[in-house]
């Protein structure tokens, strides 16, 4: 194995010092002189037509500077999803920033900019809106039925997207099966619960050009969508990359309502306008889509799959937004391609309802798929008495197999078997007791799940951005500035990108700085999403650092009178390989390349200029070469109280093939945090809406419970199976989303092992457990 200087070391996070001393650089702290504050008026009705809006009283309130109504907003249909080009044919363009047509309770219908947030809030109450109520539908299957209210003219039957994907011969496959299993698996609407609210400040220049500070996960996507929504060229918008944001998890993946509304209000007033959402507004901005999965599987006696039919119905809510893409990723990467089955058909529907819109959330359709498939896989093993680990291995891929979903790519690194075997050994799976064999009130059980295919980015998805770029600039004090549009949501991109540049330039990590970046100066970079940043942005940063190193060695060749090919970097110095005496400080080479160099000789100062160079900079703009699949298997031990129905997770072991580990502590943090979100998904989290009005009822953390330190298991053990992915930076693959795709299925399987109760709809609440045990 290659020896690394910084890679693989858990260096202190470069952003940690700032964050423990107050965290100056969150978007929520951005403040400009003369800034106004915007608030949005939201419809209380889930389906209505606005007949009139009277803003006169609101406009008269002292301190109100502007009111915005739907008629002033460009009527440009778009999708706020910004990992695809604006006019991508795969994305449904059914969304306008503000409309007289209301399709969900909470849709913005007017906005106010005022001197203070309080005045803006007061002014909202003075706006009189007259609505004509329309019939509603909240259940996607009811929305598909004949006679249901129709929400969009372009979508008869309320179908936002319908896709079928088939391979092999399904009928033949079921005919070959010895056993057929059927089940219906339902997941719920949950929120990412990033801690920093969505916020933006938009400043319209005198010529109308916009500068935008926002908490979004993708600077370039926001530039593109905002310009499109306002009908102006992209170059009329500059989005400043936040140095860091307070969490995202996919929940800040698209342009919200606040950015275009603040932009229009800034134009109207000539003042910078800030909009910060309340927690209740954050909840109803995006959420993970509920998906109902009808799953029918044929197997041979030995557990080999012969056929699988999957029908998935996704509740897109009022607009398609991510729904039309989530349904595809769910179908292909969440259910179909992870498993080796010769005859499969998947049919997916994204359906319009009068519910809130959905969005991205870590895993993007796969948690819903994994819960269904891995629950049923467990049922198959139980029913047929099969070894559940051998069953998984029989029906999944092997290292070196062609990539099942992306043509021309190979599964170069794929250590699922090691993950399963090491995880099983660590938790003591061999000693697991038969299902429901415990005694007493509190019953323990062990379960596991795996997800045998996922992504390190989006290569292979032809419509999705995957390019990345970076500039590495060397300073005369032997430090490096890195310009990249890659946003760190908290998962550690600042750290790993710093490590990569430090490694390439043989500098201490403290000498590398991720500097200011905005869309005016930084090269394009795709969003921080799809487990791509370490892999794709990491490769771009690595290439830019190598470019800078090449130029540095060329300059050193001039200065030292040596062939650059013979030069190496070591500890901030340049030297001829094997000749430590030849070493010159990197700082000197960089300075001589950039500016007159003054040597003080016996005759006094002698300026000399190295004319060949100038500032030493490296640049890379590229797509990554591949999309290697991380794989993982998670084992959990639970204790179920059969009197109260409460499920407690006692212990977690997650074995994961991530390629080479760049930063162990950061990787562990991904596993631990991913499990927290997965456990919330499995056991307690659910957004609840009023059945008649569609109003959201769980809009704060008192009503929407996420796991605290007390509910979390006392032991979460991460096992990293280090493979050397040939396409990745130093052999690395991705990590983040896998940590959340698997837990719900693993917990459901453990609950079954403990009690014999098979819960097929999330969350697994005490009530459902007691019902399944026949106690309610």
């Amino acid at each position: 194995m290659t020896e690394f200087r910084t890679i693989g070391r858990s260096i202190p996070r470069p952003d940690a010092f700032d964050k423990v001393t107050g965290g100056k650089h969150y978007p929520v702290n951005v403040s400009l002189p003369g800034m106004l504050h915007a608030k949005l008026l939201r419809s209380p009705l889930p389906h209505a037509r606005i007949l009139s809006i009277d803003t006169s009283e609101a406009e008269r309130l002292p301190g109100v500077r502007a009111v915005l109504v739907p008629d002033e907003v460009p009527r440009i249909p778009l999708t706020p999803v910004y990992f695809t080009p604006v006019q991508s044919p795969t994305m449904v363009q059914d969304f306008v920033v503000m409309s007289r047509q209301v399709r969900w309770a909470g849709q913005p219908v007017a906005a106010v900019a005022a001197d203070t947030p309080e005045i803006a809030e007061q002014a909202l109450e003075l706006i009189a809106v007259e609505y004509e109520e329309l019939p509603t539908v909240f259940d996607p299957e009811e929305a598909m039925a004949e006679g249901a209210p129709q929400l969009h003219e372009h979508a008869p039957g309320n179908i936002a997207k319908h896709e079928v994907f088939s391979m092999g011969d399904l009928e033949q496959g079921f005919a070959e099966a010895d056993h057929v299993f059927e089940g219906v698996y339902q997941t719920q609407r949950v929120h990412t619960c990033y801690m920093e609210p969505r916020v933006c400040v938009v400043d319209s220049d005198t010529d109308g050009r916009l500068t935008v500070w926002s908490s979004m996960q993708h600077a370039f996507g926001l530039r593109e969508k905002l310009a499109f929504a306002l009908g102006i060229p992209e170059s009329r918008v500059n989005v400043v990359k936040p140095r860091y944001i307070g969490g995202g998890f996919g929940g800040k993946l698209d342009m919200g309502f606040i950015e275009p509304i603040a932009a229009l209000l800034s134009r109207k007033t000539g003042r910078p306008v800030r909009a910060e959402q309340s927690r209740g507004e954050d909840f109803i901005t995006t959420a993970r889509h509920p998906i109902k999965v009808y799953l029918r599987t044929g197997v041979k006696k030995d557990g080999t799959f012969t056929a699988r039919h999957i029908k998935s119905i996704l509740d897109a809510g009022a607009h398609a937004t991510h729904g039309s893409e989530v349904i595809m990723v769910h179908g292909l990467f969440g259910t179909l391609f992870p498993w080796k089955c010769p005859n499969q058909t998947w049919e997916g529907f994204a359906v319009y309802t009068n519910n809130m819109i959905g969005g991205g959330y870590r895993g993007y359709g796969a948690p819903q798929g994994c819960f269904a498939v891995e629950s049923q896989n467990d049922e198959i093993c139980e029913a047929l008495g099969l070894d559940p680990i051998e069953f998984r291995l029989r029906n999944t891929w092997r290292e070196g197999d062609p990539h099942p979903a992306i043509e021309g790519h190979t599964l170069n690194t794929y250590r699922l078997e090691d993950c399963l075997r090491q995880g099983a050994e660590r938790i003591g799976f061999g000693e697991r007791r038969p299902a429901a064999s415990g005694e007493g009130t509190k019953r323990r059980g062990i379960g596991f799940a795996c997800h045998p295919l996922w992504v390190s980015g989006c290569v292979g998805f032809p419509d999705i951005y995957e390019h990345a770029g970076a500039i590495v600039k060397l300073n005369r004090d032997a430090t490096a500035d890195v310009v990249t549009a890659c946003v760190d949501l908290g998962c550690g991109q600042i750290t790993v990108l710093t490590q990569i540049v430090a490694e390439e330039l043989q500098l201490p990590p403290e000498s590398v700085r991720l500097s200011y970046a905005d869309t005016d100066i930084a090269p394009f970079d795709a969003p921080t999403h799809a487990s791509r940043a370490t892999y794709s942005a990491g490769l771009a940063v690595q290439a830019a650092a190598r470019d800078a190193r090449r130029r540095l060695l060329e300059a050193a060749g001039h200065v030292m009178g040596a062939d650059p090919q013979t030069l190496v970097l070591e500890e901030g110095r340049v030297m001829v390989r094997g000749q430590p005496d030849s070493a010159r400080p990197m700082a000197e080479i960089i300075a001589r390349a950039e500016a007159p160099w003054i040597e003080v000789g016996p005759e006094g100062p002698v300026p000399t200029t190295l004319e060949e160079k100038g500032t030493i900079m490296g640049l890379a703009c590229q797509a990554p070469p591949s999309n290697p699949s991380p794989v993982g298997a998670e084992f959990v031990e639970v204790e179920v109280d059969t009197e109260t129905g409460e499920v407690k997770v006692l212990r977690v072991v997650y074995a994961h093939d991530v390629g080479r580990l760049l930063h162990r502590s950061g990787a562990e943090g991904q596993v631990e945090g991913g499990f927290q979100q997965g456990m919330g998904y499995a056991l307690m989290e659910q957004m609840v809406f009023d059945e008649e009005t569609g109003a959201h009822l769980t809009g704060d953390f008192l009503d929407y419970k996420i796991p605290t330190a007390v509910e979390m298991p006392r032991s979460i053990e991460a096992i990293f199976i280090e493979s050397d992915e040939p396409s990745g930076p130093y052999g690395a693959k991705s990590l983040s989303e896998m940590c959340l795709i698997v837990p719900a299925a693993a917990i459901a399987n453990a609950v079954y092992n403990a009690t014999g109760a098979r819960i097929r709809d999330l969350p697994i609440t005490p009530e459902k457990v007691l019902r399944a045990l026949g106690k309610l």
């Binding site: 423990v20 001393t21 965290g23 969150y26 860091y244 605290t708």
Partner: protein, 163 residues
């Protein structure tokens, strides 16, 4: 009606003009320009806004600033003295307990009160001590580790110091 009140913030007395409904969080962020306490929910649900009032951790979003007139407020900006980080801050860095960091300042304030009350807490006591503070990134594992580390360093370093 605005009213002039006096607070002691991080050891300095300050006069502030506030409304009766102004929360301590608003006052700290907008008038004292201390951005360490964060707004996460404005309803006492997340703990990002936690500060110490006379050494007790409170949700500053749920505390009217007038109700703490004349009392001593400590925010994260007051934790580190003379160029040195508080052991809790240093431990959060060293244990890798900081990810997005938005909960971190509130979490550390809760940890400070916990350790002031109980210098050698058990794991269960640590978990209960931060149960009023949500984090969505870390699963709390490294936060618990950081508080344990801070406890042991404080004990090592604070022999003979007054509580």
């Amino acid at each position: 009606m605005k009213q002039l009140i006096e607070l002691e913030i991080n050891g300095q007395r300050q006069e502030l003009l506030v409304e009766p409904h102004t929360s301590l969080l608003q006052c700290l962020r907008e008038q004292a320009f201390l951005k360490g306490a964060k707004r996460g929910c404005d309803s006492g649900g997340c703990g990002c806004c936690t500060v110490l009032v006379d050494g007790r951790a409170v949700y500053s979003c749920m505390t009217l600033v007038m109700s703490v007139e004349g009392r001593s407020i400590t925010t994260v900006e007051g934790l580190s003295g003379e160029g040195a980080l508080d052991p809790v801050q240093q431990a959060f860095i060293d244990a890798g307990a900081v990810q997005c960091g938005y909960c971190t300042c509130g979490m550390m304030m809760a940890a400070r009160q916990l350790l002031d009350d109980n210098p050698d807490p058990s794991e269960e006591e640590i978990r209960k001590g931060i149960a009023g503070n949500l984090c969505r990134c870390t699963g709390y594992a490294k936060i618990v580790e950081a508080i344990r580390l801070a406890a042991s360093r404080r004990q090592g370093h604070s022999v003979g110091e007054a509580g």
